[in-house]
Symmetry: C2
Subunit: 223 residues, 2 copies
């Protein structure tokens, strides 16, 4: 069995499509989604649920309210305003939730061992590396080693996109038929994507650079 960490954003949704496209007979797939109190979690969670419903895949939502209560980050409801700008700008450091991927992966690994899943997939990619230390390849390798050693099953953490750009992920999603229009990215968490925060800028660039029509409705778009 495979377990996919699914946020409801573009990268993890394409990761789910990728795992589904590579499945073999008798293998099954589940997804796990987290709500850690970010401004955009509620809409992300809903996107994840919709995508799993369309695929007929089980989605388990895990709530981590202590992160919003205890951790310091402007991505959280308890934090300050989300800055506008480019995803790789230093200002975006304020939106880092400390060791978020470490926490989500550790919980996913424990859940994987409980349900007999031998692999946990995460959709982190090369564009995350500038700002997010727990998205980089060396971190991924270390936590994968911890997961293998720390479980009876020897659970593997698989990060198939760790050296890819988001544009490459977008192109792959288009090919695999990922419902990209159902994915949600905006850090501000509004009904429409704001179009100016780091993830919105990154999302627009990915569609543009992949040559894929952007189905997203951004605030201020001419209707």
């Amino acid at each position: 069995m495979d377990l996919v960490v699914l946020s409801g954003g573009m990268d993890s949704s394409v990761a789910l499509s990728f795992v589904m496209a590579t499945r073999v007979l008798s293998s099954s797939i589940e997804t796990i989604t987290f709500n850690y109190g970010s401004k955009h979690n509620d809409r992300e969670n809903l996107a994840a649920k919709k995508i799993c419903s369309a695929y007929g895949i089980k989605n388990t939502l895990v709530r981590l309210p202590f992160i919003n209560d205890l951790f310091a980050s402007d991505l959280l409801k308890s934090g300050g305003d989300v800055p506008d700008g480019h995803y790789e700008d230093q200002a975006m450091k304020r939106t880092v939730v400390p060791f978020r991927n470490g926490i989500m992966l550790a919980i996913a690994v424990g859940y994987a061992e409980s349900i007999g899943a031998k692999r946990v997939y995460l959709g982190n990619h090369a564009g995350d590396h500038a700002i997010y230390p727990d998205c980089r390849a060396d971190f991924s390798a270390a936590i994968a080693e911890a997961a293998r050693l720390g479980t009876y099953l020897g659970v593997q953490i698989v990060t198939p996109f760790v050296s890819m750009t988001k544009a490459q992920i977008c192109a792959l999603g288009q090919t695999l038929g990922t419902p990209l229009s159902n994915t949600y990215s905006c850090y501000k968490g509004g009904e429409s994507h704001c179009g100016t925060c780091g993830t919105c800028v990154e999302r627009m660039e990915a569609f543009f650079n992949a040559g894929v029509p952007d189905p997203t409705s951004y605030l201020g778009d001419a209707s």
Copy 2:
């Protein structure tokens, strides 16, 4: 600043005493405690709180109810009865909570980065190695590498007792003045320690082998 993962059992309580004994001027210490729905968490949490009150140290309790809801283990309220026997017996595998140390450490590392703590201490020891894959030295080294790489601070995970026996920890606690009588170990979670489950047997052996008088009240003790 240092952060100690404190369960309220003997090992982590001695780890707290150890960190307090080695502190230097201007360094401060906090503790983090988890409730993941085990049968003995409520009493453990209370023990942790008491020990921190006595030391005048901040204790933050983090609740992880999803573990009891989703994970498979007889240690959990949702699991079967806790087996009697020796701590290192194969039967004790039923009490393993999958990747529990991985999850607790990942959360502790994220909290450490949020409060500016550069070190996270865990009291795992050599006696844990037989049954618990996420207590072993190779796991500890891998997760420590993930923590260092995955945080801006380069948070260190420190496991000072990883090669020691529980008897050695008990002896150290006696020397350091750890309030051992306030610590709680029993997996069954009763008011008195049962004296027959794996952790009770391990606790009794540790006091006996350390030559330290055992202050614990066990069920069935002559009064």
